[in-house]
Assembly symmetry: C2
Homo-oligomer: 417 residues x 2
């Protein structure tokens, strides 16, 4: 079946709300480590994957899933040890005050549950997100995701703060805190005092904003002082992505009330969750039971437990720091050599690279670079307000030789008209 | 680790919103077909499972998952054939006018997306559910789930109709239609004309209400005539559960606008979806993209495709009809013999059995029966307003000899004081 046939069939069966990557969509049939293979057997370097974060088809994760699928798959209304082993291993990576975890199938469900828990605990409904936030696709959290566009109607309880990217690196901490003060005052006046502030601790959809580490702290403390909870959305930044810490909020020295997680948690298997302070779920549990049919099932927990073990045993965060530093050097050097490359931001193996023309954001050029790379079998994407920020996010098992291949292709792509 | 240790550990790690089945919770370590095994190797007959609906650890489903996990697991922004094969096979089981499908991870996400699509299409927000409905756990659909209790605050856009069980079998169609007329009038007056009416086509949480087949039709037509959409929630009744048809709405001769599905779709693997008329998703797709990281991934679709194939190739609906009829006879005979057993409702392999004392609903007695059965290694549950309806829902591969074992145990349990 040709690409065109597949696309036609897809439109006929799935409809238009699904989007495909790239001007020439990609069709992969096999994956292994950092590589994806098309039907012709050609290998593509996957530099845009924080789901199969340990590499495609990681044998230990595949084995954990296979064994459990062949043994038992039930739910949380029966006792099972794997959910407890998984919860315990997960909570050991989090600060002591985060001591309960609940499992869902997706990051969307995790953030949605965080909202329900925060509302039950605070008795408030006001929510603060950044101006280009993305937190998921349920009705509640799609409203909290301005990056989905104007088509998603927002309730009056949702308030936005400017992206931290609007402040220079030097003024970011103070500027963002002042913006938070302003929005808290505005929403309180409007009758929606904050139940929660949620952010992706790497601000992926806002254009990747990582530094200076700690800049988030004053703003978060403002929310907590005003009686709101802070939800660290670690779907993007969690599970060792930054190399410096298991969780993105730790880079900023934050003390979150809830921590949501998803994408890389099962290396592609649908598992996600929300960890929190015990008293939050005590309050929620009094008011409502929570049963998620697939959430926390033995197979999902076996996958998640294996992921946690591989990150620790293979010392992947060391690799993230080393290869991350190597890539940072490469990207900065490219920035020195090419006028198309502006600021390079990021932490560990997550980069945002501004593409500019005459110093101005150039989304079209970023799009051309992304598609040029795809034609040369290197997979990345773009993000940010103008779509001009290259989003580079390889698996945690990325090695220096992969970085070299990326940099060679990227160097050609940015010099291409 | 003892049961008590497991329970203590669970409370310490997961918190109080999770509930366990049975006065003495069960701990299973292995499953096969209709059997679950505890750590001592004792076999329990699973008569309460519409997730592992083809039987625990079905070898063809396990193989489909294993193969795909070892080959490739990506997402819907790349082309992949399995999602298309799965969508095509699924849509072939649905009426012609239902011609698009979108994939999610859970029935909650499917119903949540149905709400978003219905709101985008109708420009309305009013929602009708039955008084004891259950449609999931996201913020939007937990509000549409009065069976979760008063602790879940409902928005002013959610309206309830009485359970069809409030009408006698003879007056059910007309009475439920009249109730629908009344609620449509009330909500329209309140400024919330109906965007949608959603119901489980077997009314599981309302006490299992199956007959007379067709009773739902006049009420659904009232909603559609008033400009609202009808969402058939097939999470419980779908995938051949009733034996008479692949989908519960077909028993009632209904023409739904959207069909949501979940639990048995991947025989335990987290996959769910929403099928609908093309024009509904056209409207939604104009306003917003939809990307669900794990929804429709190759592994989930391989599992769902295998489930559809097994149901067809093993002619499981024939088995459901045969063993369902056999069990119906057995339950009716038990009803004739025991004063504790009142009305027996259901279709295929899904039964609601009223437990009564002196003709009145007796939830305590139902609870004792459920726990007595668990002590004798037969697993069922209870539902309904007073919790007095035994919910009997074996896997579709249940055989007459399993039915005999259930009936023998149930007969002893109902005669036990």
């Amino acid at each position: 079946m040709t690409q065109t046939d597949l696309i036609t069939r897809r439109e006929r069966l799935l409809g238009p709300a699904y989007r495909l990557f790239y001007d020439e969509p990609a069709h992969f049939v096999r994956g292994e480590g950092v590589w994806l293979y098309d039907a012709a057997g050609d290998a593509y370097l996957d530099v845009y994957n924080n789901v199969a974060s340990l590499g495609h088809c990681h044998p230990r994760i595949a084995l954990a899933i296979t064994r459990q699928v062949e043994t038992l798959n039930t739910h949380t209304r029966y006792l099972h040890e794997t959910i407890l082993d998984c919860a315990e291993t997960l909570l050991a990576t989090l600060p002591d005050h985060i001591d309960r975890v609940m499992f869902t199938c997706s990051g969307s469900e995790a953030n949605d549950l965080a909202v329900r828990i925060a509302e039950a605990y605070t008795g408030r409904t006001g929510i603060i997100v950044t101006e280009l936030a993305y937190h998921g696709v349920t009705q509640a959290v799609s409203q909290m995701s301005p990056s989905l566009g104007e088509g998603v109607v927002r309730g009056p309880h949702i308030f936005t703060v400017p992206s931290p990217l609007r402040f220079s690196s030097e003024t970011r901490a103070a500027g963002f805190a002042q913006a938070m003060d302003d929005v808290i005052a505005r929403m309180t006046k409007a009758g929606f005092p904050p139940a929660l502030f949620i952010c992706d601790t790497l601000f992926s959809s806002d254009g990747v904003i990582s530094d200076p580490a700690g800049f988030l702290k004053p703003a978060v403390e403002r929310v907590q002082a005003a009686g709101g909870l802070f939800v660290a959305d670690e779907v993007q930044a969690g599970f060792g992505r930054t190399g410096e810490a298991m969780w993105g909020f730790q880079r900023h020295g934050l003390s979150p009330d809830l921590v949501s997680m998803g994408k890389p948690m099962g290396n592609g298997h649908p598992v996600a969750g929300i960890a929190m302070r015990a008293e939050l779920i005590e309050e929620f549990g009094k008011k409502s039971r929570y049963f998620n049919t697939f959430g926390g099932n033995p197979v999902s927990c076996a996958a998640a437990l294996a992921v946690l073990n591989v990150i620790a045993e293979d010392e992947l965060m060391v690799n993230v720091r080393q290869v991350g530093a190597y890539l940072t050097d490469g990207l900065r050097t490219l920035g020195d050599e090419s006028k198309a490359v502006g600021e390079v931001r990021g932490a560990g193996l997550f980069f945002g690279v501004d593409i500019v023309t005459d110093g101005q954001p150039d989304g079209d050029r970023a799009r051309r670079i992304v598609n040029h790379l795809r034609q040369h079998k290197v997979l990345i994407s773009a993000t940010g307000q103008q779509g001009n920020v290259l989003k580079i996010r390889p698996p945690l098992v990325f090695r220096p030789e992969h970085a070299d291949r990326l940099m060679a292709a990227l160097s050609r792509a940015v010099s291409h008209p």
